[in-house]
Point group: C2
Chain length 226, copies 2
């Protein structure tokens, strides 16, 4: 099993799920800017859309889309109890995966995290933050997890909420959400996954900064235009 990921991207949720399940997997880093994997392969030859996560579950069998991958991991390793098995519990899990994926991840955070998104697109996204976070907070009130016990939905929610720190989204107005974040950070699988990806993220930032200095230097020192 091979997980294609980018540090602190939504693929972090699958790493958490795999650690929860105590499963060995190969992790292949994809640079979100260059779309190159760590061995220099163009990731778009693996997944044409260039999006992470992707999970190679067998030779030539590639799963994409976060909610599908998370549910596949939960189903493949049932002893980790990462997803409810009763029909209503399963529906509630899918409800959360869908809410996090559409309302928070895609509608709110993607435009805010995208350096190329125009200001108005960011403001349009940000205008939905309050209602979406208030609803989330109301559902987390008095609960430890989104469902009755830890599930892949918590791993996904934790991953997405992490992004708030580099956007104008403020979570502090919602104590039920910040308390959830604190609880998650103390969970060994989460602490390990986040710690490892934070280190890789710092390296990614340094690599891009070095590349940008290199480009600037070359443009100054390079051969003058004819």
């Amino acid at each position: 099993m091979k997980l294609f990921f980018s540090p602190l991207a939504c693929s972090l949720a699958t790493r958490i799920a795999l650690y929860e399940a105590g499963v060995e997997a190969e992790f292949v880093e994809v640079d979100p800017k260059t779309k190159k994997t760590s061995d220099g392969t163009d990731y778009r030859t693996i997944h044409p859309l260039g999006l992470v996560p992707a999970l190679e579950i067998d030779d030539g069998v590639l799963l994409t889309e976060n909610a599908a991958i998370l549910q596949w991991v939960a189903a493949r390793f049932p002893e980790a109890e990462l997803a409810p098995r009763d029909p209503l519990g399963r529906a509630r899990l899918q409800q959360w995966l869908c809410y996090i994926g559409t309302e928070l991840h895609k509608a709110l955070f993607v435009p805010l995290l995208d350096a190329t998104a125009p200001k108005d697109a960011k403001e349009y996204a940000l205008a939905k933050a309050d209602s979406r976070l208030r609803w989330l907070a109301s559902q987390l009130e008095g609960r430890e997890f989104l469902l009755d016990r830890f599930s892949i939905a918590d791993a996904y929610l934790y991953t997405v909420l992490n992004w708030a720190m580099v956007t104008p989204v403020t979570l502090e107005a919602h104590p039920a959400i910040t308390a959830f974040q604190r609880r998650m950070r103390e969970r060994p699988s989460v602490a390990r996954a986040f710690g490892e990806e934070r280190t890789l993220y710092a390296k990614e930032i340094a690599r891009h900064a070095a590349a940008s200095v290199w480009r600037a230097t070359s443009s100054i020192l390079g051969s003058p235009k004819p």
Copy 2:
């Protein structure tokens, strides 16, 4: 079972699924502008986010989020075979539900359909149309359905693609997509559901137009400002 829907909104997919399963259900129309149900109830007292679909599966048990509701219907009526049951088939289904829900529905169509979205937010959304539709077309090439047979993913995709006609998204460059639409339209469950909701949609538009004339008239004939 009670489906809260708005005409031609993404709740259409659940209506199609219910017709496929041959299931009796109550359909409660929610006006997307006023958020009132047909009997005058404020829908936000039922679902605080005011989003459709919502499915009341039992007294006081309300499911929300399209992908969750569709999968619940498929699981509840297995004889309709609306979802694969093998692990890989299930993962592929969830992959499509997630792709349609995030990349097409939320990222592409929501800003384009939203009259209040700023121009730049619409353009930012539209810029992703080509890659997202090309990928979809490549996957539909030579296939009748997204999976091996009709599934809830087809119902959802058909519903979302319908919106193209009132946005600048052009599907004609992708014959595999327009052929999929034609095949779906011929399917009895789809033809019936679409026909019914198109009629309700026309009534909704007429209602809003009448309300707007009424407001304009009142503002002209009403008492002058002090």
